[in-house]
Amino acid sequence: MKVKDERLENLRNKIGRETYFLTIYLIALSMVIKKFVHGPELSGLGSEFLILIISGVYYAVRYWQMGILADEVEVHDRSNRLPMSTKNVVVGLGAGVIISLIFGLRSAVVYASTGQEKIFYFFLVFLAAFMIYIPVFLVLALVLNLASRKGGESN
Protein backbone atom coordinates (compact mmCIF):
# COMPACT_ATOMS: atom_id res chain seq x y z
CA MET A 1 0.00 0.00 0.00
CA LYS A 2 1.37 3.39 -1.02
CA VAL A 3 1.63 5.81 1.87
CA LYS A 4 0.88 9.49 1.41
CA ASP A 5 2.20 12.11 3.80
CA GLU A 6 -1.06 13.10 5.50
CA ARG A 7 0.54 16.03 7.28
CA LEU A 8 1.60 17.62 4.01
CA GLU A 9 -1.74 16.83 2.38
CA ASN A 10 -3.68 18.40 5.27
CA LEU A 11 -1.45 21.47 5.21
CA ARG A 12 -1.97 21.83 1.46
CA ASN A 13 -5.75 21.60 1.94
CA LYS A 14 -5.55 24.16 4.73
CA ILE A 15 -3.67 26.61 2.51
CA GLY A 16 -6.19 26.00 -0.27
CA ARG A 17 -9.05 26.86 2.07
CA GLU A 18 -7.25 29.96 3.38
CA THR A 19 -6.58 31.11 -0.18
CA TYR A 20 -10.28 30.72 -1.03
CA PHE A 21 -11.36 32.87 1.92
CA LEU A 22 -8.62 35.41 1.17
CA THR A 23 -9.93 35.69 -2.39
CA ILE A 24 -13.50 36.20 -1.12
CA TYR A 25 -12.32 38.93 1.28
CA LEU A 26 -10.35 40.65 -1.50
CA ILE A 27 -13.39 40.58 -3.79
CA ALA A 28 -15.53 42.08 -1.01
CA LEU A 29 -12.87 44.75 -0.43
CA SER A 30 -12.80 45.49 -4.16
CA MET A 31 -16.60 45.99 -4.10
CA VAL A 32 -16.35 48.38 -1.14
CA ILE A 33 -13.58 50.40 -2.80
CA LYS A 34 -15.47 50.55 -6.12
CA LYS A 35 -18.54 51.84 -4.29
CA PHE A 36 -16.44 54.56 -2.68
CA VAL A 37 -14.90 55.58 -5.98
CA HIS A 38 -17.95 55.30 -8.28
CA GLY A 39 -20.74 56.16 -5.85
CA PRO A 40 -23.75 54.17 -4.68
CA GLU A 41 -24.93 52.62 -7.97
CA LEU A 42 -24.22 48.90 -8.32
CA SER A 43 -23.12 48.93 -11.98
CA GLY A 44 -19.55 47.79 -12.46
CA LEU A 45 -19.82 45.21 -9.68
CA GLY A 46 -21.22 42.48 -11.93
CA SER A 47 -18.01 40.46 -12.20
CA GLU A 48 -17.54 40.47 -8.42
CA PHE A 49 -21.13 39.33 -7.83
CA LEU A 50 -20.70 36.63 -10.46
CA ILE A 51 -17.51 35.29 -8.84
CA LEU A 52 -19.10 35.28 -5.38
CA ILE A 53 -22.29 33.57 -6.56
CA ILE A 54 -20.58 30.93 -8.72
CA SER A 55 -17.99 30.00 -6.09
CA GLY A 56 -20.69 29.94 -3.38
CA VAL A 57 -22.95 27.69 -5.43
CA TYR A 58 -20.01 25.40 -6.31
CA TYR A 59 -19.06 25.11 -2.62
CA ALA A 60 -22.65 24.35 -1.61
CA VAL A 61 -23.19 21.77 -4.37
CA ARG A 62 -19.93 19.93 -3.60
CA TYR A 63 -20.73 20.03 0.12
CA TRP A 64 -24.05 18.34 -0.62
CA GLN A 65 -22.63 15.96 -3.24
CA MET A 66 -19.96 14.60 -0.92
CA GLY A 67 -22.58 13.99 1.77
CA ILE A 68 -20.82 16.21 4.33
CA LEU A 69 -24.00 18.07 5.22
CA ALA A 70 -25.96 14.83 5.72
CA ASP A 71 -23.18 13.44 7.93
CA GLU A 72 -22.98 16.66 9.93
CA VAL A 73 -26.73 16.60 10.52
CA GLU A 74 -26.45 12.95 11.65
CA VAL A 75 -23.66 13.68 14.14
CA HIS A 76 -25.41 16.85 15.37
CA ASP A 77 -28.82 15.22 15.86
CA ARG A 78 -27.32 12.33 17.80
CA SER A 79 -25.80 14.53 20.48
CA ASN A 80 -28.28 17.42 20.63
CA ARG A 81 -31.81 17.49 21.98
CA LEU A 82 -33.03 19.85 19.25
CA PRO A 83 -32.63 18.40 15.76
CA MET A 84 -30.78 20.50 13.16
CA SER A 85 -33.97 20.95 11.09
CA THR A 86 -35.82 22.55 14.04
CA LYS A 87 -32.82 24.78 14.79
CA ASN A 88 -32.75 25.93 11.16
CA VAL A 89 -36.44 26.88 11.28
CA VAL A 90 -35.99 28.79 14.56
CA VAL A 91 -32.87 30.62 13.34
CA GLY A 92 -34.50 31.34 9.94
CA LEU A 93 -37.67 32.80 11.48
CA GLY A 94 -35.63 34.71 14.07
CA ALA A 95 -33.52 36.26 11.31
CA GLY A 96 -36.72 37.22 9.45
CA VAL A 97 -38.16 38.94 12.54
CA ILE A 98 -34.90 40.83 13.17
CA ILE A 99 -34.57 41.99 9.53
CA SER A 100 -38.24 43.09 9.48
CA LEU A 101 -37.79 44.90 12.82
CA ILE A 102 -34.79 46.79 11.41
CA PHE A 103 -36.75 47.83 8.28
CA GLY A 104 -39.78 48.81 10.39
CA LEU A 105 -37.72 50.85 12.86
CA ARG A 106 -35.83 52.56 10.03
CA SER A 107 -39.06 53.60 8.30
CA ALA A 108 -40.52 54.90 11.56
CA VAL A 109 -37.40 56.92 12.36
CA VAL A 110 -36.62 58.25 8.86
CA TYR A 111 -40.03 58.88 7.25
CA ALA A 112 -42.61 59.45 10.01
CA SER A 113 -43.14 62.84 11.68
CA THR A 114 -45.86 62.38 14.31
CA GLY A 115 -45.93 59.72 17.02
CA GLN A 116 -48.99 58.01 15.57
CA GLU A 117 -47.36 57.93 12.15
CA LYS A 118 -44.26 56.34 13.63
CA ILE A 119 -46.31 53.44 15.07
CA PHE A 120 -48.30 53.05 11.84
CA TYR A 121 -45.18 53.08 9.63
CA PHE A 122 -43.38 50.67 11.91
CA PHE A 123 -46.13 48.04 11.86
CA LEU A 124 -46.88 48.53 8.16
CA VAL A 125 -43.25 48.07 7.07
CA PHE A 126 -42.56 45.36 9.65
CA LEU A 127 -45.50 43.24 8.45
CA ALA A 128 -44.81 43.89 4.76
CA ALA A 129 -41.12 42.99 5.12
CA PHE A 130 -42.00 39.82 7.04
CA MET A 131 -44.55 38.80 4.40
CA ILE A 132 -41.92 39.25 1.68
CA TYR A 133 -39.42 37.25 3.75
CA ILE A 134 -41.71 34.23 4.31
CA PRO A 135 -41.53 32.80 0.73
CA VAL A 136 -37.74 33.33 0.68
CA PHE A 137 -37.53 31.52 4.02
CA LEU A 138 -39.70 28.63 2.80
CA VAL A 139 -37.55 28.15 -0.33
CA LEU A 140 -34.34 28.25 1.75
CA ALA A 141 -35.76 25.78 4.30
CA LEU A 142 -36.82 23.42 1.51
CA VAL A 143 -33.41 23.58 -0.19
CA LEU A 144 -31.62 22.99 3.12
CA ASN A 145 -33.91 20.09 3.93
CA LEU A 146 -33.29 18.45 0.55
CA ALA A 147 -29.56 19.14 0.83
CA SER A 148 -29.27 17.43 4.21
CA ARG A 149 -30.32 14.15 2.68
CA LYS A 150 -27.60 11.87 1.37
CA GLY A 151 -25.66 13.24 -1.56
CA GLY A 152 -24.63 11.42 -4.71
CA GLU A 153 -21.00 10.60 -3.92
CA SER A 154 -20.13 8.92 -0.68
CA ASN A 155 -16.46 9.62 -0.17
Binding site: E6, G67, A70, D71, E74, V75, R78, S154, N155
Partner: protein
Protein backbone atom coordinates in the same frame (compact mmCIF):
# COMPACT_ATOMS: atom_id res chain seq x y z
CA UNK B 1 -16.48 -5.89 13.27
CA UNK B 2 -16.72 -7.98 16.41
CA UNK B 3 -18.39 -7.07 19.73
CA UNK B 4 -21.73 -7.10 17.92
CA UNK B 5 -21.90 -3.37 17.31
CA UNK B 6 -23.58 -2.04 14.21
CA UNK B 7 -21.76 0.64 12.23
CA UNK B 8 -24.34 3.09 13.52
CA UNK B 9 -23.76 2.19 17.18
CA UNK B 10 -20.00 2.31 16.78
CA UNK B 11 -20.24 5.69 15.02
CA UNK B 12 -22.38 6.96 17.89
CA UNK B 13 -19.91 5.75 20.52
CA UNK B 14 -16.93 7.25 18.74
CA UNK B 15 -18.77 10.46 17.79
CA UNK B 16 -18.35 10.32 14.01
CA UNK B 17 -20.75 9.84 11.10
CA UNK B 18 -21.78 6.29 10.14
CA UNK B 19 -20.40 6.91 6.67
CA UNK B 20 -16.93 7.50 8.16
CA UNK B 21 -16.97 4.06 9.84
CA UNK B 22 -18.26 2.48 6.65
CA UNK B 23 -15.47 4.05 4.55
CA UNK B 24 -12.78 2.94 7.04
CA UNK B 25 -14.10 -0.63 6.90
CA UNK B 26 -14.07 -0.69 3.14
CA UNK B 27 -10.58 0.82 3.05
CA UNK B 28 -11.63 3.98 1.23
CA UNK B 29 -10.70 6.33 4.04
CA UNK B 30 -7.55 6.39 6.16
CA UNK B 31 -8.41 7.44 9.71
CA UNK B 32 -6.05 9.48 11.87
CA UNK B 33 -4.32 7.71 14.74
CA UNK B 34 -6.64 9.43 17.24
CA UNK B 35 -9.69 8.07 15.48
CA UNK B 36 -8.13 4.58 15.25
CA UNK B 37 -7.54 4.63 19.01
CA UNK B 38 -11.10 5.81 19.71
CA UNK B 39 -12.49 2.99 17.55
CA UNK B 40 -10.21 0.41 19.19
CA UNK B 41 -11.30 1.55 22.65
CA UNK B 42 -14.98 1.48 21.71
CA UNK B 43 -14.58 -2.11 20.52
CA UNK B 44 -12.29 -3.12 23.46
CA UNK B 45 -9.62 -4.17 20.97
CA UNK B 46 -6.03 -3.17 20.36
CA UNK B 47 -4.90 -1.33 17.26
CA UNK B 48 -3.14 -4.52 16.16
CA UNK B 49 -6.37 -6.51 16.32
CA UNK B 50 -8.20 -4.02 14.18
CA UNK B 51 -5.73 -2.57 11.76
CA UNK B 52 -2.77 -4.94 11.43
CA UNK B 53 -2.73 -7.26 8.50
CA UNK B 54 0.04 -9.43 7.06
CA UNK B 55 1.13 -8.40 3.57
Amino acid sequence: MEKDLSQEELAKQVGVARQTISLIESGKYNPSLNLCIAIAKALSKTLDDLFWYEE
